[in-house]
């Protein structure tokens, strides 16, 4: 899959505070703090968007970065988080019920 749909796994807890997402994997209580770019991808990973759309509509729109570089970085992040089981990839849109919903988001970011 070169350009998959991306979804947050439901087997985790996540919230966004101060513009940065924090993720916990309850099975081992491991914590992940994401920077702003990774948070942008994470929040957009609703199972309804392909990674290329997220890069074009969110990353390139909000950060000063060219499409090729952003897409390469996004795919690297996707590979890493898919291997960890935090992000799911699919050739088809993902049922929203199977996507983790952030339980707390502030507006200070």
């Amino acid at each position: 899959m070169n350009d998959p749909y991306v979804a947050r796994s439901t087997r985790l807890g996540t919230c966004t505070l101060g513009g940065e997402a924090i993720i916990i994997t309850p099975s081992d209580s491991h914590l992940y703090n994401l920077n702003q770019v990774a948070t942008c991808i994470w929040e957009a990973a609703d199972g309804q968007s392909r990674i290329s759309e997220i890069v074009e509509k969110r990353i390139c729109a909000e950060f000063e970065i060219d499409r090729e570089t952003a897409l390469a970085d996004a795919l690297e992040f996707l590979t890493d988080f898919s291997a960890k089981g935090l992000l799911l990839t699919s050739e088809h849109p993902v049922d929203p019920a199977k996507v983790a919903q952030p339980f707390l988001e502030d507006t200070n970011g």
Partner: protein, 279 residues
């Protein structure tokens, strides 16, 4: 008549005593026929022994000789469950508890450490459902507000307690009890002591601020970004069960806590001047 009474007592078994311990307004009743154990518990927990009509947990305690526990008393605590049936096991005790009914039992050596460990686990499980958590932290009430100081062993929790000003009320030098009441988070006193070997006061106050503590060359307070605050607090949360739902619940509570309470880093030198930057 006397014979009849004696006969009835024998059928009913030994007379059970009840000691109810209330920490953070959550009561756990310990029932035991072991009079010495009950007396030890009353002495050990002092002001935390309270009358309570509806304890969250009722535990039958059976004290057994140490020789009945062949395992290493320092072995790691194992907490497991199937639905609402929990099992808690360490070298010096074995317990079962049903979180749906609140009823449980423990077989343990007659040791305050075994009871302390059992209580900590039960409180952590009960609190997780009530929007609270246990924190490896010292805490104090000053001027009607609570200040909480999480830190790993050796970071200075007991040192801060020894240096506390006279008007500070010690809630604990080791395990803080945090829960939300209404829209505010409160810190409660606990009998779970560290090196100070003193029970905290059975009192509570709204949490004014949290300081993650570290030894440093001078007293410096640094505000923390939310993500750093959450990870700093999560590292010090005491939670013993590998239950994904409850871990998520605790995480959610910690995130909400950080949104409502300022969390700072405190580097400090071990003298009384540290309290000047806290207050």
């Amino acid at each position: 008549m006397v014979k009849q009474f004696a006969w009835w007592v024998n059928l009913a078994g030994p007379k059970m005593q009840c000691v109810t311990l209330e920490v953070g307004k959550v009561a756990i009743a310990l029932h035991s026929a072991d009079i010495e154990y009950c007396a030890e518990v009353r002495g050990r927990y002092g002001d935390f022994v309270r009358e309570h009509e509806n304890p969250s947990a009722k535990i039958d305690v059976e004290c057994l000789p140490e020789s009945d526990f062949t395992d290493d008393p320092d072995e790691d605590l194992v907490v497991d469950h199937q639905r609402s049936h929990w099992t808690l096991r360490r070298g010096d005790f074995q317990a079962e508890w049903n979180s749906a009914t609140g009823l449980g039992s423990v077989r343990q050596v007659r040791s305050p450490y075994a009871t302390d460990s059992l209580l900590r686990v039960l409180h952590s499980l009960i609190l997780a459902r009530k929007g609270g958590f246990l924190l490896h932290a010292s805490s104090f009430i000053i001027g009607g507000n609570a200040y909480v100081f999480p830190g790993i062993s050796g970071s200075g929790k007991t040192t801060l307690s020894r240096l506390a000003p006279q008007d500070a009320v010690l809630l604990t030098d080791e395990v803080s009890y945090i829960r939300k009441v209404g829209s505010r988070y409160f810190a409660y006193g606990t009998p779970f002591a560290g090196e100070l070997a003193l029970n905290g006061e059975n009192a509570c106050a709204p949490v004014r601020a949290v300081y993650l503590i570290f030894h440093g060359p001078s007293n410096i307070v640094t505000p923390l970004a939310a993500a750093n605050a959450i990870s700093g607090i999560m590292r010090n949360v005491l939670f013993f069960a590998a239950d994904e739902t409850l871990v998520q619940s605790v995480f959610q509570t910690v995130c909400d806590f950080v949104l409502n309470v300022p969390v700072r880093r405190l580097d400090f030198v071990p003298d009384a001047s540290v309290w000047e930057v806290v207050r």
